[in-house]
Subunit: 200 residues, 2 copies
């Protein structure tokens, strides 16, 4: 490989790095655990990667933890162009798919070709939820905002009038990635209902 | 292992997870790339983990990338208790060491014992900068704020009257982890001086 080739690669990589800084300005609906403000996608992605390291033993045996972490680090990057969608807003969730595919094309397309393919594959694997790694990653992505709502007297559940029944549909995705974490999430939901922070 | 044992572990892990949410509220000196606000430690940690994935080929051959990523994810957690220290504030940097050791003890100590040891070892490895993984991780930690300052007309360099000579001492740490990224950082410094955004 020539020096010029390496320079071109670094140039493309830096363009991508500068672009993804914008993930720090994409706001999610849920609040921080202390309720002080809404969470952004970049800090959310760090948090999920940490959850993966800390909770690894609750994943299916043999899960490739490094892959789970890489998937979580890139899983929201498409939202730089496509924006965040509230998971309980069914209409928006459907319209979102096309916007996210275009976003993946543009954003990962800034990288050298084989890296673009690799990052896009991680994002697609996460979305498809077919591998144990993706199921565990998705479980963590569902668990974190439930913990935040549980700590914020209902948080976005209360604000958007979400019911326990709707939340339990999301808990099923957690159970699918980790039965133990699914049981933990069910407890959070039941406690929130008992406290009057979530409609039955 | 009994179910009660697993419950205890999960309980400790959740306590740690709730506590580290606070990293999202620890502010650093440097701004986001667009200059809109100061960066927090959690989104900074995500950003560095992404830099590790994107720039991996510029590390020493054979570097364990998964370890670099894990190190970057945990490297600032001690700042929840000890706060962020501006790297050009020499007096504060010295006082910081003891506070960070106490913070590591308390924060990682929330985890089950062998996880506490594992996370603390990652943080200590990062700080010691003796392994190729730690040198690469530290290089990225130094590179990111230089990119932000370069994009913000000098940013914290201008604000705190830092000189190119002081910045080049930090560039040496980048070169130590990756000669190619060191050369890239040197270019950033020279461009900033040429533009009048950094004192020679």
């Amino acid at each position: 490989m020539t020096t010029a080739h390496h320079e071109d690669r670094l140039h493309a990589q830096i363009a991508f790095i500068l672009e993804i800084d914008k993930l720090k300005r994409v706001l999610r609906r849920n609040l921080l655990m202390d309720g002080s403000r809404r969470e952004n996608d970049a800090e959310h992605s760090w948090y999920l990667a940490m959850l993966a390291l800390v909770l690894a033993e609750h994943a299916e045996p043999g899960v490739d933890l490094g892959r789970v972490v890489r998937m979580l680090l890139v899983h929201d990057i498409v939202e730089i162009d496509a924006g965040d969608t509230f998971i309980y807003d069914v209409v928006a969730v459907e319209a979102q798919a096309a916007a996210e595919i275009a976003a993946a094309e543009r954003l990962f397309g800034l990288l050298p070709e084989e890296q673009a393919r690799e990052f896009r594959a991680l994002w697609e694997e996460f979305e498809a939820r077919e591998t144990p790694e993706a199921r565990f990653a998705k479980a963590l992505d569902r668990l974190a905002p439930m913990m935040a709502n549980h700590h914020n007297e209902g948080g976005t559940w209360a604000l958007y009038r979400v019911t326990a029944r709707q939340v339990l549909e999301k808990v099923a995705l957690i159970t699918d990635g980790s039965p133990r974490l699914g049981a933990f999430a069910t407890d959070l939901v039941e406690t929130s209902v008992a406290r009057g922070h979530l409609q039955p």
